[in-house]
Symmetry: C2
Subunit: 335 residues, 2 copies
DNA sequence: GTGAAAGCGCTAACAC
DNA sequence: GTGTTAGCGCTTTCAC
């Protein structure tokens, strides 16, 4: 019932080889033959079956990108970057969400073994070092946004430590000396790296680290609220709070406002990511921008270069951050 | 170099047919043969090449979902619903983003013609009625969240008109008589339907429609700001504003606060969608919830049922909304 | 410049 | 219960 390359060949009065040649521009074909083929294609409404092609060529030209969920608008620009870079090389990006589940992730990665995709990019993963390293031996994979310690896999992230350092240093330069940090206790190296940046900024400015100034929860919105409650219950509450995400920063801001604080005056709050929310919020949230579009582009470019060259150059690429100043951070004023 | 079903057959001392049988549980196989096969599979690290299988079976068991972008957290639960429903029937959902571009959409839909996917779901589309109807004749497609007038295609949406009616009726019951609406002039029937609900609520409550109370822009955040400026420049500014999205509502709220209004007291603002932003915001934004998860589940269930039965029952399904009350809407008080 | 034919990995009809 | 084999739609080598 379905029109195949054979039907086109018959209609055009040529062999299937010739049809394939005009389809792929893979070899010279006489002008008249090409015309006949193109006419036949048009008349029959033919489009090639990629299953046949892919099977034959052992490649699909599609890259799977696995994101934890689409709940974070944060991924939006990364994906755009990925798609643009991919399409420039004749690849397609297919997305799937893992809901941060180890099992779902493995099931999706099966597409690699199935030959349904040529490569996979993990935007945050639950897999351990060994699994990743093994996977990388047999397939083309890359990590994006979240590095995994010890995993020798192509990785593209923002400079997490540098961004956190710059943000906290900025807070200090604005007079703040008591600075809280909202981090996570989940298994995430971006949290860890940002903590390192926070600590370095304190150290370089001669401020002692106070363990009670670091609150660790999850990425969930409610943990900003909890962090704020924790900090304000302290004998000496911080005058500024640095959060590892804009979501958590928004949560801190919301709680602060509801407690009657004037955010940016009584208390300063800084986020990380620069998602839409951070500038939509009232007050606008000062934050550390990730170069999402570039992160997406870069990881795909490197990955495709690996595929094309048959290499496994497992670079660790860190892209630069940018501080975005808004209203949620202000000069320190002793009350 | 790659291990195929043939290698497994050889190692297990059986024919490829038998291997295929244990792989697919498609026919009875003796216990000993099955064991041999499974051992061979394990030892060789074999996993079936789906390109071969899919080509042979003329099906892929994957459904493509095309979303405009991942910028709207709104899609998150819809996708989760889709994935759950799909996986229960042995299907996978693959996501792709169109950036609301007609061309990108067509390129993605090529996967239908390519036989790379079995069906496609469009979450908002730039395609016209004819294209959609034609597409639906040759393939399995569905619309989700956005209906298209006259397109005889399986469609699942929320009850847009009903939701808007309920929201505006609520506003009126709280004493508001001058109610603005922030809508869009883009080609979107959900906007249109919500406008119809707005108008119906006014009418049933004996309030005259004032054209200057409807502002039409795009879905872009900045249009909330513009709408607010427009309304407040009117001789008789509205005391409540109903927006067709939470993003626009947040924008209106942000502008109102920056102009010194107390939102929920001086002015009421209601959104639509119930995205995370609406409860993260300060003040929390009253809104109309869409049953996103169910929308996702439903569209996939119907689509798969069509595929399995070879039918094209192009139902138009409307799922119920729910009003979520927060702080951005309050009783009318004459100043 | 063109065609015949092999074969990518798999499933399923058929024969035993 | 099992094996043989045709063939899904395509690309590509090889011979002409």
């Amino acid at each position: 019932m379905n029109v195949t390359i054979k039907d086109v060949a018959k209609a055009a009065g040529v062999s299937v080889a010739t049809v394939s040649r005009v389809l792929n521009n893979s070899a010279a074909v006489s002008a008249s033959a090409a015309e006949n083929v193109n006419n036949a294609i048009r008349e029959l409404g033919y489009s090639p079956n990629f299953l046949g092609r892919n099977l034959r060529k052992c490649e699909t030209n599609v890259i799977l990108a696995i994101i934890p969920s689409t709940e974070q608008t944060f991924y939006s620009d990364i994906i755009r970057g990925m798609q643009n870079a991919a399409s420039e090389s004749g690849y397609d990006i297919l997305l799937s969400t893992s809901n941060s589940s180890h099992n779902v992730e493995m099931r999706l990665l099966n597409m690699l073994f199935n030959r349904t995709v040529d490569a996979a990019i993990l935007l945050g993963t639950q897999l351990d070092v060994k699994t990743l390293t093994d996977l990388n031996k047999q397939h083309y994979i890359a990590l994006c946004c979240e590095r995994v310690d010890g995993a020798d896999v192509l990785t593209v992230t923002v400079d997490d430590k540098g961004g956190a350092f710059a943000a906290v240093d900025k807070l200090i330069k604005m007079g703040h000396r008591k600075i809280g940090m909202v981090s996570t206790s989940v298994n995430s190296l971006s949290s860890y790296d940002r903590e390192q940046g926070y600590k370095k900024a304190l150290e370089e400015n001669g401020i002692n680290l106070r363990e009670e100034y670091i609150y660790r929860g999850t990425y969930d919105f409610k943990h900003g609220v909890k962090a704020f409650e924790h900090f304000m219950g302290l004998p000496e509450p911080p005058s500024a709070i640095f959060c590892i995400s804009d979501i958590l920063a928004a949560s801190v801001v919301k709680k602060a406002i509801s407690e009657g604080y004037s955010v940016g005056n009584d208390i300063s709050v800084c986020g990380f990511d620069n998602i839409l929310l951070s500038w939509m919020y009232t007050p606008g949230i000062t934050t550390v921008e990730q170069p999402c579009y570039d992160i997406g582009r870069t990881v795909v470019e490197e990955l495709i270069s690996n595929i094309n060259n048959g290499t496994k150059s497992n670079k660790k690429i860190m892209l630069p951050y940018k501080i975005i100043e808004r209203e949620s951070v202000g000069q320190y004023n002793a009350q």
